[in-house]
């Protein structure tokens, strides 16, 4: 069991080094791709919204970078499976679907990590972070990354052609980053409709981060459990429905 786990982690690290570190070394501008949109939005919020609105923008930027650098696994995994046909080599090997997907997920995160660092730095600039706040932010970020990656890998396994997914990635990014209260306060939604916002896992993450920097008075235990439950649900659905072998 321990041996299997160790080999799984090593496999994931090898894939992450191969696809994440080497990609960013040779194509460093891919980092900019993830930063550009949230930074642009933040710029306009800063121009027209003032300091308090800017902090909301920083929270939104952090969550949206995590979303975009997680959901991208959808197109990349489909490309590797359908165009390069290299996924078949992994299927016909001792490497498991979990270690393969985890390796790709870390590789994608490596592209987004500079943006995550930038936005956490900005958060700390606007609101000094207590150790507990850092833990809550780390918890929210990790579960957002895990759950959205699971969703992306699940969707990728159903694609017949990477073109199928070109449409979904931007739609999902908007549905997860811009439609729910990620860049704006949850309280702007009428209280009777707020439950709709919690259909998106990013609402939980944004609420937790906002609470950590004093922008919200949410129930941290409740929202934390909600995010954990949502993430587990997405991971379970992904594990059950993802097509590793062909049918």
């Amino acid at each position: 069991m321990i041996d299997r786990l160790t080999k799984g982690v090593k496999a994931s690290m090898a894939i992450a080094w191969f696809y994440g570190v080497q990609n960013i070394r040779r194509s460093p501008f891919s980092v900019v791709n993830f930063i550009l949109t949230p930074v642009s939005i933040l710029f306009f919020i800063y121009l027209f919204g003032g300091a308090r609105a800017t902090t909301y923008g920083v929270v939104g930027g952090l969550v949206s970078i995590l979303v975009s650098s997680s959901i991208i696994i959808e197109t990349d995994a489909a490309f590797i499976r359908i165009i390069l046909k290299v996924q078949d080599m992994f299927v016909a090997s001792p490497a498991s679907a979990v270690s393969y997907a985890a390796g790709l997920a870390v590789a994608e995160l490596i592209n987004g990590i500079a943006g995550v660092g930038l936005f956490i730095g900005l958060l700390a600039y606007y609101h000094p972070l207590a150790p507990l706040a850092v833990l809550v932010i780390a918890y929210a970020c990790t579960l957002t990354w895990v759950s959205i990656t699971g969703l992306g890998f699940l969707i990728s396994s159903f694609a017949r052609d990477p073109r199928d997914l070109w449409v979904y990635s931007p739609i999902l990014t908007v549905m997860l980053s811009f439609v729910p209260p990620v860049f704006y306060p949850l309280t702007t939604i009428p209280s009777s409709f707020r439950f709709v916002a919690f259909l998106s896992p990013t609402t939980y993450a944004a609420e937790l981060v906002r609470d950590a920097v004093g922008l919200s008075n949410t129930s941290v235990p409740l929202v934390s459990v909600g995010l954990l439950g949502y993430s587990l649900l997405l991971i379970m659905v992904a594990a059950k429905r993802t097509k590793w072998m062909e049918r």
Binding site: V86, D88, M89, S93, Y100
Partner: protein
């Protein structure tokens, strides 16, 4: 539990029906001895890749039984995966990574230690004459070199069974010969090779046994020599230019496609046909029959 040791693959009555109701394998059975090069030939869409993917545990059969290296295909796929490796049809390496990185990553993903993986990567790169390109990103390599990178990845793992699905497509003749030598070397080291190819000379030169399949079913199986004997003739005559079917019919079995005709006949009748063609100013070549002739005869709807 391992149930067979002398055979690398035992497949019995495999059926594969895809979700779109296309029947790719129709009660297909095959036995591949260990330590052999076994080739599966057939037209496009015959079911070769489907069978290869099933044996590699990439695809589930609809029905039927199979064991790979003594392990049950359905119940012991994890054991099979530790011992097989595949070069998928039309597979390509990643653009921004080097050949060395490909092999190293794949070996570690398969459970090798870093130091062993490093050593083995260098060995395989050298054997496949890729050392010169080992630190070049793959987008800058030619198509043939890219194909060699994928072959290097799959074979580096030292599998007991290596499945090669049309591995030499896009390679120049010199590179193909090098891959053939490499395959022979792997067999000498104890690897069983299962090959699908459209190059009949490749199958003929490399294989211990060959199966020809069509529409998901086995048409013929045997050694290359046995299969050629099945044709019942010794000489193949290729005629280029306009010649009537009635003119060819008297000489033996023939196949016509546009202005190219091929006749399978005895050596003496072949010479007579050659003389006749020369007298009519038609280009003609004579040679002993090959697997390609048999393939055309069986699957190209030759006329008797």
């Amino acid at each position: 539990m391992r149930i067979a040791l002398a055979e690398a693959i035992v497949a019995e009555n495999l059926v594969k029906i895809y979700p779109n109701n296309k029947k790719a394998l129709n009660s297909f059975s095959l036995t591949v001895p260990r330590g052999a090069v076994y080739s599966l030939l057939g037209k496009n869409g015959a079911g070769k890749t489907t069978f290869t993917k099933i044996i590699a545990t990439i695809l589930r059969p609809t029905s039927g039984e199979a064991s790979v290296l003594g392990f049950d295909l359905k119940k012991q796929s994890h054991e099979i995966r530790r011992r097989v490796s595949i070069v998928p049809q039309e597979s390509r390496p990643f653009s921004l990574q080097t050949p060395y990185e490909h092999i190293l990553m794949f070996l570690i993903a398969r459970g090798w230690s870093l130091s062993d993986a490093r050593k083995r990567s260098r060995e395989v790169l050298e054997r496949l004459e890729l050392t010169e390109y080992q630190n070049q990103i793959c987008s800058t390599l030619s198509g043939g070199l890219k194909q060699r990178v994928v072959i290097a990845m799959a074979s580096a793992a030292e599998p007991d069974l290596l499945l090669l699905d049309e591995p030499t497509i896009g390679l120049d003749p010199v590179a193909r010969l090098m891959i053939w030598d490499f395959i022979r070397e792997l067999v000498e080291q104890g690897t069983t090779i299962f090959l699908t190819t459209h190059y009949m000379d490749e199958a003929e030169n490399l294989s211990d046994r060959v199966t020809i399949m069509d529409r998901g079913m086995k048409v013929l199986e045997g050694t290359p020599s046995e299969l050629k004997r099945h044709l019942g003739e010794t000489t193949s005559v290729t005629v280029t230019g306009r010649i009537g079917a009635e003119e060819l019919a008297g000489y033996g079995k023939y196949y016509q496609n546009g202005s190219a005709s091929r006749v399978f006949t005895s050596e003496s009748r072949a010479r007579e046909l050659a003389d006749y063609c020369v007298s009519k100013q038609l280009a003609v070549t004579l040679r002993p029959v090959t697997l390609e002739d048999l393939f055309i005869y069986l699957l190209g709807e030759a006329n008797d």
